[in-house]
């Protein structure tokens, strides 16, 4: 009788643990390799398309094995598929392929190549974002029902077994023991005392030595009971001959009663369900770190498709970053031409409009939204990122400067400006010299808060680097560093 077993479900994942170990081991190699891959725009496109193959150098996967050196000594190979050779024909030695070195080629095999490791989009992003954080994120906001922490709240009589509190349960037991057993014990003692007084009656006038009894206190019921028992037993033996029938019956009745009480006493359980006490926890809402990110994108006519693409890559990364790393970060999307409007995620990334470039309306709108929705500045960590081709209308620069100094920077934990250009912008070694760049630079220099960063991106891969530079973890000393550190320039 054949046995057929269906193992299709729940069977995979057997190697998950090994896979994780391997991933851990490969982490560094993979990150370096990913870094190299991101040097060209195809790498990033692969990530957008759902995943990327990164080459892991063979040396990182090396497992030593005992083997022969293929170059040494003499050996005979047998090979299939002879077409032209006759005995004693010579074959030139070649590295790989052709000739008669087929055997060797198979010995070394593809094992020598770098191993391509496929990272899913999420894995690749995790690597990219591993060392990133939002700067200056230290304000703690009000309590949030969704974010709670369990807190001890006394004891309850029902709960999960792992929360049994032994000390509490046993003191409960002692209480019950005192109440239930104590009553029985007192009753038994009373009976013994009756018996004792009956028996002692016979000894009046004699000089028999009767064993002493300890003093009866609140806590020595049991010892006292035992002493009474042995004393009365002793007395019983002593007066056995002279005791009257009536008294004998009385003593017997008393003994019956004692026996009955003892039985009841033995029936009282050591620990009952009712003694158990469980630690109680309640969920207490905790203050959380709340943040909002303003994504401001210039979509005016002067911004080419390619530049927009650069901006979008930056914002896409930013969006993914906030989503994966922070639970409590809100995002506000603002796009602007000569006027600004708040849009939703889809419109921000996918719809198209045109117009002139004026920056101040966008900053003004940002300020308005802050005032309206995030007015409790003590609770909210506010960030703003702006991408623009820098081609601001000259007359607007003063307005921008004023807005930045007066409203935006004082309210923000961080303001990030990425200027987008094209690859063929001449002389990219220099800083851009657009209107907006110079304006922002002046603002940054005058700004004492050290909460402004700016950079230039000409290509998709620049955007990735700018993004990582903006949000890299800055130690305390680094944030105290002068603005020099912040005003770096890509490319």
């Amino acid at each position: 009788m054949s046995v057929v077993i269906d193992t299709r479900t729940g069977a995979s994942g057997k190697n998950r643990a090994s896979r994780q170990r391997f991933n851990e081991r490969m982490r560094k190699s993979a990150r370096d390799a990913l870094e190299r891959k991101l040097g060209d725009s195809k790498g990033f496109k692969d990530i957008l398309d759902g995943g990327i193959d990164v080459p892991i150098p063979q040396r990182d996967l090396k497992q030593p094995r005992i083997g022969h050196n293929p170059q040494k000594g003499s050996k005979d190979y047998v090979l299939p598929g002879n077409k032209k050779y006759r005995a004693n024909d010579g074959i030139e030695r070649q590295q790989g392929g052709g000739g008669g070195r087929g055997r060797k080629a198979s010995d070394s095999g593809d094992g020598e190549d770098d191993f391509e490791w496929h990272l899913s989009q999420q894995e690749a992003l995790d690597f990219l974002m591993e060392e990133l954080e939002l700067p200056h994120m230290h304000k703690k906001g009000g309590a949030d029902a969704g974010h709670t922490k369990p807190q001890r709240a006394g004891f309850v009589s029902q709960g999960m077994p792992n929360r049994v509190d032994l000390v509490r349960s046993f003191s409960q037991r002692i209480g019950r023991d005192l109440a239930v057993n104590g009553a029985l014990e007192r009753e038994i003692i009373k009976m013994y005392e009756q018996k004792q007084s009956v028996l002692l009656g016979y000894l009046e006038g004699t000089d028999e030595n009767v064993p002493d009894l300890p003093a009866h206190t609140l806590t020595n019921n049991i010892q006292y009971m035992d002493a009474l028992r042995s004393q009365t037993d002793f007395l019983n033996d002593l007066v056995a001959d002279e005791i009257s029938d009536d008294d004998e019956a009385l003593v017997a009745a008393i003994e019956n009663r004692i026996e009955d009480l003892e039985r009841r006493r033995a029936g009282v359980p050591f620990l009952t369900e009712k003694d158990l006490r469980y630690r109680n926890y309640v969920q207490v809402p905790q203050p959380v770190t709340k943040a909002v990110m303003f994504c401001i994108m210039d979509v005016s006519g002067s911004v080419t498709e390619e530049m927009k693409n650069n901006s979008k890559v930056f914002y896409w990364l930013l969006y993914k970053f906030l989503q994966s790393k922070y639970d409590h970060v809100e995002t506000v999307f603002i796009r602007h031409t000569h006027e600004a409007e708040e849009v939703d995620h889809d419109n921000f990334f996918y719809s198209r409009v045109t117009g002139g470039t004026v920056v101040s309306p966008a900053l003004r709108l940002t300020d308005e939204i802050i005032k309206k929705r995030y007015s409790n500045v003590n609770e909210w960590n506010i960030y703003a990122a702006h991408t623009c081709d820098g081609d601001n209308t000259s007359s607007d620069n003063n307005a921008v400067t004023e807005l930045m100094h007066e409203t935006i920077l004082p309210q923000c934990q961080g303001f990030f400006y990425m200027e987008v250009g094209t690859d063929d912008d001449s002389d990219r070694s220099k800083e851009p010299s657009t209107n907006l760049w110079r304006t922002y630079q002046r603002v940054m220099k005058a700004n004492k808060l050290e909460n402004m960063w700016m950079a230039y991106s000409a290509k998709v891969e620049d955007s990735v680097r700018v993004f990582r530079e903006f949000f890299k973890k800055r130690g305390v000393h680094q944030t105290q560093n002068k603005q020099k550190a912040a005003a770096f320039n890509i490319a």
Binding site: V4, D6, K75, Y77
Partner: protein
């Protein structure tokens, strides 16, 4: 033995219980492989297979057992998904495995290849257990299910059950518990001693896996108990023969105590031991004090590291027969699937379309690329094995003059000629008695050499070019056969490294010896391997004084060619790389 008709009668009896009757394999299973088959009205037989796969196994089983009298373990058919197959691949076909990053690497590799479509997954995996576990992918076609069942469930299965290497070296009942224990033990150790610690030991063990087997079941080196008894015996002898008078008159008392000392520190002479890992587990100074050499083997208090080494060695031993019988095993399985599926076609259990699919698949698996093809990756064991087995059947039934000359002296051939044996009994004897090396050297015929156009290339580092020494002609057959047999001799493939000495009384050095055949030296990776050996033997954080020394010695001249040592020797002596004059 039954004829086809008699088999058919029995199969008809079984299939009559189902609604689709004899056409059942020509139709898709109802819905899913696991869905119960529709019974014919009025069929009351119980204990008959309920599912398509079960029925396939039963029907093929009837042919295999009744027509060919194949001796097999019972089968457990497992229906699995592609992910499961990748998992199983990664574990070298083992049902379970411990955690180590290298398996994660294999898994990632397999998965990447599978995803890219570079690797068509094998349709089956079969595990040498009792009962024999046969994995079938759920994406297999009907025909593939039958093929897999015949190939693995009967072909491999009968090989596992009968081949002497498997019956002598492995215990089919033991492997699952062993792996389970190993897996659990690794996990426990990780919890107790840390993941990194365990990983280091495992990595070191893996480096020695090829030398963690006993190739021949010869008596083990002396057990520690025996060694102790030996010491004890000598001490008693000295005590009993202690002559006080003689002592006083001829020797100083001090020398007597020296004598005792010598007895207790008697140099343990060891036999050459090819199982490096097991030897290290038994004697490693890192894990055993001098006075308790290996005395804790298998006892409570044995360090977890040496326990682990022993378990890995057990696992290697289990795989050893598989490495030695790759050609035979696959050849045998291919031969039987070819026969069994052919019989099913003859009995009209599968239709022409399915037979075409079978032939396509069969010839796909059994393709041997020529050496100059860019797809060439060595011999295809399926093809080589299959051709030889098919050829044996041919030789038994219709020997040519060439065969008579070639095989004339072989006992089996004479028996067949005398009518004392037939191809089936010869075949079964081969399965029991041989391994790849001997199989090729005994049964590779000129016909197969010709058909595969085999030729021998001699490659000597001293010569400027390689030379073709034999091709498929009368002068070359024997050379080709011998060279190919040699190729399957594991001793030629794996460098021969043995423990030759262990300095028990002084610095507890480990001496290894590599016997160099035909000038084939070790590749540079040996330095990394030795690093691992040293790690297991003595190296610890503080550094250690017990060295590991490996000498390469020429097998013919006895001359030492190379020497490697760890820790590296002082005084500018570069360990290993120095050629002795």
């Amino acid at each position: 033995m039954y004829s086809n008709e008699e088999c058919m009668k029995e199969i008809r009896e079984l299939l009559d219980n189902y609604e689709d009757g004899l056409n059942i394999f020509k139709k898709d299973p109802p819905g899913d492989w696991m869905a119960p088959l529709a019974r014919k009205e009025g069929s009351t037989a119980d204990n008959i297979p309920e599912t398509w796969m079960g029925l396939a196994e039963a029907v093929i089983g009837i042919i295999a057992k009744k027509k060919y009298d194949l001796d097999t373990y019972p089968n457990v058919m497992k229906l699995i998904s592609a992910e499961y197959m990748i998992d199983a691949y990664t574990n070298v076909g083992m049902p379970k495995n411990y955690t180590h990053w290298s398996f994660g690497l294999d898994h990632a590799r397999n998965e990447a290849q599978y995803r890219k479509g570079q690797m068509g997954l094998a349709y089956e995996i079969v595990i040498n257990t009792n009962p024999c576990e046969v994995y079938n992918m759920d994406t297999n076609s009907r025909l593939m299910m039958l093929l897999v069942t015949a190939h693995a469930g009967f072909g491999h299965n009968t090989f596992f059950k009968n081949n002497h290497l498997f019956t002598e070296h492995t215990d089919a009942e033991e492997i699952n518990p062993l792996l389970e224990r190993l897996k659990r033990f690794v996990k426990e150790c990780e919890e107790k001693y840390g993941i990194q610690e365990v990983e280091d030991v495992l990595s070191a063990c893996h480096a020695l896996e090829s030398h963690a087997v006993n190739r021949y079941s010869r008596p083990r080196a002396k057990s520690p108990k025996e060694i102790r008894e030996q010491i004890e015996e000598r001490r008693k002898f000295l005590e009993q023969n202690y002559d006080h008078l003689l002592e006083v008159t001829t020797r100083k008392a001090a020398s007597a105590s020296d004598d005792f000392k010598e007895a207790s520190e008697v140099d343990i002479r060891i036999e050459r031991d090819e199982n490096l890992l097991r030897f290290i587990a038994d004697y490693s100074p890192k894990y055993h004090n001098a006075n308790e050499v290996a005395s804790r083997r298998g006892k409570p208090g044995e360090p977890w590291q040496t326990q682990l080494m022993r378990m890995i060695a057990d696992k290697s031993q289990y795989f050893y027969p598989q490495i030695q019988t790759k050609v035979m095993n696959e050849g045998c399985a291919s031969f039987w699937h070819y026969r069994l599926l052919g019989d099913m076609y003859d009995m009209d259990l599968i239709d022409d379309g399915m037979y075409m699919e079978f032939i396509t698949s069969h010839s796909g698996v059994l393709t041997q690329r020529d050496f100059d093809s860019k797809y060439y990756s060595g011999f295809n064991p399926y093809k080589l094995g299959f051709e030889i087995f098919m050829d044996i059947e041919r030789v038994c039934n219709n020997p040519t003059d060439e065969d008579k000359e070639w095989f004339g002296k072989a006992q089996w051939f004479q028996d067949v000629q005398a009518g004392k044996a037939d191809w089936l009994s010869v075949m079964k004897d081969i399965v029991v008695e041989y391994r790849d090396e001997t199989f090729v050297s005994q049964f590779l015929s000129p016909k197969v050499i010709r058909e595969m156009s085999l030729f021998v290339v001699h490659d000597d580092e001293m010569d400027d070019e390689m030379v073709v020494t034999a091709i498929h002609n009368r002068a070359g057959y024997e050379k080709v056969r011998d060279a190919l047999a040699d190729h399957y001799n594991l001793a030629n493939r794996t460098p021969q490294i043995e423990v030759v000495d262990y300095d028990y009384s002084r610095n507890r050095a480990l001496y290894l010896e590599h016997t160099v055949h035909r000038g084939r030296e070790l590749d540079d990776d040996i330095n990394n391997v030795l690093q691992q050996v040293w790690y297991l033997w003595s190296a610890d954080k503080k550094g250690s004084i017990s060295p590991v020394i490996l000498n390469s010695v020429d097998s013919e001249t006895g001359e030492q060619i190379q020497s490697y040592a760890l820790p590296k020797r002082e005084e500018g002596k570069q360990p290993g790389r120095k050629r002795q004059p």
